[in-house]
């Protein structure tokens, strides 16, 4: 493998070193390789194939906001791209250094700066890993309530920059619902600190402008977020609905009865068959892809697809249409998993009301076990996916959101648009009063990386077109990066003028994460 040398001039390196010190800068190839991609599947596939995307020229690790200011000013003066980097767990190429330049890794800015117990607010530096922040809050008797599956490998700044959602978003909200105040270094080197208050009317809300900006408008250096007391009680409930429509209706009624469950997840028939609705089976299951095994599909599938267990991923990748037919065998209905947490007085009442609502809406009560099983395995699913890549296949996820009126349409339309090209299954999570998100996992493959890339692009083109046809958001919580950048104008139309104007004001030199998000 040939690695092109770093383009960072000696002079630039010296200037950077003067800011962060010898120990906090690297031009070593090992680092340049490590920082050249995030976890977007196409980069994964290419890397497995020995191909590299663009590499950064230099990586720096600032320790404090003043250093960030100086780094940004330096980059602006020299017109060198600067890419804020959290933990690189993004799945849309948000940190890919498309035009080379400096990777600004924030992970050494990881202090918790203040815990205001009375006001239920924590202030932390942006580079702190989600799990570290959560563990420290737990120790003090609090939770942030933000549990993305990637919690071990992602940062507070990354959540904010990409509008992340945790598994308990129905209760605690997405990260944008948690943010109270930010410290941001703009592309000009100026520092913006937004005042911390529960609500304000001070013109446009700058927090909500930086949240979701994915490193294109400023570097988030610290944030104040809402926290809640660590929940003294937790309740679990599960229901099976005869159809996906009935399940969606159940979720809608829960949310519109003003209930605040913590987790709300509805699996489609296939996904339900894979996770299982019983109280025992699948207990040891490590991931979806471990649970693809036929045991759950019965003999019919066994005879239809010998060797499915071993070659599941490869199989589904190359014969997507057939695999999608598996849905026919998944006759168990659709599983809805609910958890409630908080003060016992309230969680018990909520669970009772939820049970009443779901049963009235054709849900068959399956007791707490399936929900408890999900709880136990809730971080495993994502990590199981990597195995798919060993077989030359790829897996990716599409997470979209729309209102209740359109959500079933969105689900069917996406499946229809994609099913020829990929094996696809879905669950509905992140429910809100007016709608919810739908999360598709699709698996496919190509005879070579180029073919795979084409298939991948075709799947996305078809899915986003379907989403825009039905009406909804093409991403609920993974963000845009560069992989979805081509769809930004379609998504926002003339409203992109606002984004362009913000970009020009906040990053006049155009150095912050260039080439992302459909900005010119």
């Amino acid at each position: 493998m040939k690695i092109s040398p770093s383009q960072a001039s000696t002079e630039l390196r010296e200037a950077l070193t003067a800011i962060v010190g010898e120990a906090n800068i690297s031009v070593a190839n090992l680092e340049r390789l490590s920082y050249c991609r995030d976890l977007n599947p196409m980069a994964n596939l290419a890397t497995n194939d020995g191909r590299l995307g663009p590499l950064p020229d230099v990586i720096v690790w600032p320790h404090e906001v003043d250093q960030v200011v100086r780094l940004v000013k330096l980059a602006a003066e020299r017109r060198v791209p600067l890419i804020p980097f959290g933990a690189g767990s993004g799945v849309c190429g948000g940190t890919t250094p498309l035009r080379g330049g400096i990777i600004l890794d924030l992970k050494k800015m990881k202090r918790i700066l203040a815990l205001d117990e009375k006001s239920l607010a924590v202030t932390a530096e942006a580079g702190i890993i989600g799990q570290h922040l959560e563990m420290e809050l737990n120790r003090q008797g609090y939770t942030m309530g933000h549990f993305p599956s990637s919690i071990y490998t992602s940062t507070l700044g990354g959540y904010l920059a990409a509008r992340s959602a945790g598994q308990l978003s129905a209760k605690y909200g997405k990260i944008e619902d948690m943010v109270l105040g930010l410290e941001v270094v703009l592309g000009t080197g100026e520092i913006m600190r937004t005042p911390v208050a529960p609500r304000a009317s001070l013109g446009p809300d700058w927090n909500q402008i930086f949240v979701g900006s994915e490193g294109t408008l400023g570097v988030i250096t610290s944030a104040t977020c809402r926290i809640r007391p660590y929940p003294p009680s937790r309740e679990f409930a599960s229901f099976v609905f005869p159809t996906i429509e009935a399940g969606i209706e159940g979720m809608r009624l829960l949310m519109q009865n003003e209930l605040k469950p913590a987790a709300v997840r509805l699996y489609d028939e296939l996904d339900t068959a894979l996770v299982g609705t019983g109280s025992k089976q699948g207990e040891s299951s490590e991931s979806f892809f471990d649970s693809l095994p036929i045991s759950q599909f019965g003999n019919a599938v066994k005879s239809l697809v010998p060797g499915l267990v071993r070659r599941a991923e490869r199989f589904v990748g190359q014969r997507a249409d057939l695999a999608n037919e598996l849905q026919r065998f998944a006759t168990k209905g659709c599983l809805l998993v609910l958890t409630f947490e908080g003060e016992e007085l309230l969680t018990r009442a909520e669970k009772n009301l939820a049970t009443e609502i779901c049963e009235k809406a054709e849900g068959v009560n399956k007791g707490p076990e399936p929900a408890m099983r999900w709880w136990k395995n809730r971080y495993h699913v994502s990590y199981g996916q990597s195995k798919v890549f060993y077989h030359g296949a790829f897996v990716d996820t599409i997470e979209m959101a729309t209102t209740w009126r359109k959500i079933a349409d969105l689900y069917h339309e996406i499946r229809r648009a994609v099913r020829e090209k990929a094996f696809i299954m879905a669950h509905f999570s992140h429910a809100y009063h007016e709608g919810c998100s739908v999360y598709f996992t699709f698996v496919s493959a190509g005879t070579d990386v180029e073919k795979a890339r084409q298939t991948h692009r075709q799947v996305w083109d078809a899915a986003v077109a379907a989403c825009h046809r039905v009406g909804g958001a093409m991403s609920h919580h993974h963000g845009i990066g560069y992989t979805k950048a081509p769809y930004m104008h379609e998504e926002h139309g003339q409203a992109m003028r606002i984004f362009e104007a913000l970009k020009q004001e906040m990053d006049p030199a155009g150095i912050l994460n260039p080439g992302k998000m459909g900005l010119s």
Partner: protein, 479 residues
């Protein structure tokens, strides 16, 4: 009536072009209209008016009915470099609609249709010129509520709420207006129509809704909104308690929300507010009166209201039963309108200063503001809404003035309150916005906000036609 000569002769070309778009009847240059549309309810303007002074006057008032018409009139005004002031119902409290450069007032009130209600998603699609009360009445008829009840409910528009980030009495439960919006349609200065897309949440860049929310007419005319609805609650409970000191009441509120209770309304008065405002409504109490309203299913709210009361009692409160809360609820809009005769009277100034802070900061903030203002005026304060992280604080100030010193004293009250707020960790506005009035202090609270906003405006409205002189320190007129 004779058409009196406008000071500056109206540009005939402008008049004709606007008439081409809207027809003759929806364009006015009548003096009566020009006077009516020359101010909002900023008490400082009212001082001017009662002296017979009104420094600003628009040249024309127009009443478009559709987004398309708004787009066409903005194009005309942009080409002719004419200021356009978006105008809802003019109930703003800080001079947001003052036509400081003259020009055209664009009254949105004929854009008052509820276009669609999705019962399934519980979303209403409305034009923004609809009065809050009309929207709510229609929703109620269909079994829904938006949950937004500002004191000015009957005299303010949806567009005004959105443009100022308004808060209603039930913000504790339903949030402020920015928490209720799913998407917006708006028209930029050059006539371009933009839409944000409707989805419960998204991760597709910055939230453009939040650029328009609070933009107070300077970036775009908001023409349509998708708003979240809620089913009308099945049951309602009232609870009241009285606390010896404000601290006790604040602590009770904090603990209720921390526990996870969700009252619809909480309103906590300080001793002066209890004995003046609440008394005027026919309630007698000593100390700090807390009224609470709980909405929802009966089993749920019985549970929650009982727990809330328990928390009050544990924090020094005494149970006052349902009646004070129910009584307040039934008279809750009268509160404001009882104040207006005071203003009409000479030699008196009256205003409301509303701030917000975290629980850690709120008591020091209250003390500081109260003390500073108390030297100059009678001060009544209350907590109108509370959140798990903190609450809003509303100070009603009134004092006697003379014709000579009324502006000086009025301005000094504000200077005093804003200084104290900035020094003690408060935000200078919770829900009324900035307008002409608070720009100076916004510059202190968020120094980068104004230059960034002006930069953004230069790019979206290069001729500076939209509401010039607002959210900006300088007044630069386009013409």
């Amino acid at each position: 009536m004779d058409q009196p000569k406008p000071k500056k002769p109206t540009n005939v070309e402008l008049l004709n072009r606007l008439r081409d778009v809207l027809g003759g009847r929806r364009v006015s240059r009548a003096l009566g209209d020009r006077l009516n549309y020359s101010h909002d309810l900023w008490p400082r303007s009212l001082l001017e008016i009662r002296r017979g002074e009104a420094p600003y006057r628009p040249d024309l008032i127009i009443w478009p009915e559709t987004t398309e018409e708004v787009s066409r009139v903005l194009k005309v005004c942009n080409e002719m470099r004419t200021p356009v002031v978006p105008f809802g119902a003019g109930s703003g409290m800080c001079g947001g609609v003052l036509p400081v450069c003259g020009g055209v007032v664009l009254d949105t009130k004929r854009m008052n249709h509820i276009e669609r209600i999705s019962e399934e998603s519980q979303v209403a699609v409305c034009q923004t010129g609809i009065l809050g009360i009309h929207l709510e009445q229609e929703l109620n008829r269909r079994g829904y509520t938006m949950g937004h009840f500002p004191g000015s409910f009957g005299i303010s528009t949806l567009g005004g709420y959105l443009a100022t980030r308004s808060a209603g009495q039930a913000a504790t439960m339903y949030g402020k207006i920015e928490d209720m919006v799913l998407s917006l349609q708006a028209v930029l200065a050059d006539g371009t129509v933009i839409h944000t897309r409707t989805a419960p949440r998204r991760a597709t860049g910055p939230d453009f809704n939040h650029v328009l929310l609070g933009s107070e007419g300077v970036l775009a005319v908001i023409t349509r909104a998708h708003m979240r609805l809620h089913a009308l609650p099945a049951a309602r409970e009232f609870r009241s308690a009285v606390f010896p000191k404000l601290d006790n009441g604040l602590e009770a509120l904090r603990l209720m929300l921390r526990f996870g209770l969700r009252p619809t309304i909480v309103r906590l008065s300080d001793p002066a507010d209890t004995s003046v405002t609440m008394k005027a409504l026919g309630l007698s109490a000593q100390g700090c009166l807390l009224v609470m309203v709980f909405d929802g299913r009966s089993a749920q709210i019985e549970l929650e209201s009982a727990k809330a009361l328990e928390i009050c009692l544990a924090n020094g409160g005494r149970d006052r039963g349902e009646e004070p809360a129910r009584h307040w609820y039934n008279h809750r809009f009268a509160e404001h309108f009882r104040q207006s005769p005071l203003l009409a009277e000479q030699k008196m100034v009256l205003d409301t200063i509303e701030l917000a802070a975290t629980w850690t900061n709120v008591k020091p903030l209250y003390d500081a503001v109260h003390k500073a203002l108390g030297r100059q005026a009678t001060v009544l304060a209350h907590v109108p809404h509370a959140y798990p992280e903190g609450c809003a604080l509303a100070f009603t100030v009134l004092c006697k003035v003379t014709t000579e010193d009324e502006f000086k004293r009025y301005d000094r009250l504000w200077q005093t309150a804003m200084d104290a707020a900035l020094k003690n960790g408060g935000v200078i506005s919770h829900a009324h916005g900035i307008g002409r009035q608070k720009v100076r202090w916004l510059a202190k609270q968020l120094p980068l906000a104004l230059p960034l906003l002006q930069g953004l405006k230069r790019r979206l409205d290069p001729n500076n036609i939209l509401n010039p002189g607002k959210l900006s320190v300088e007044v630069e007129c386009p013409c």
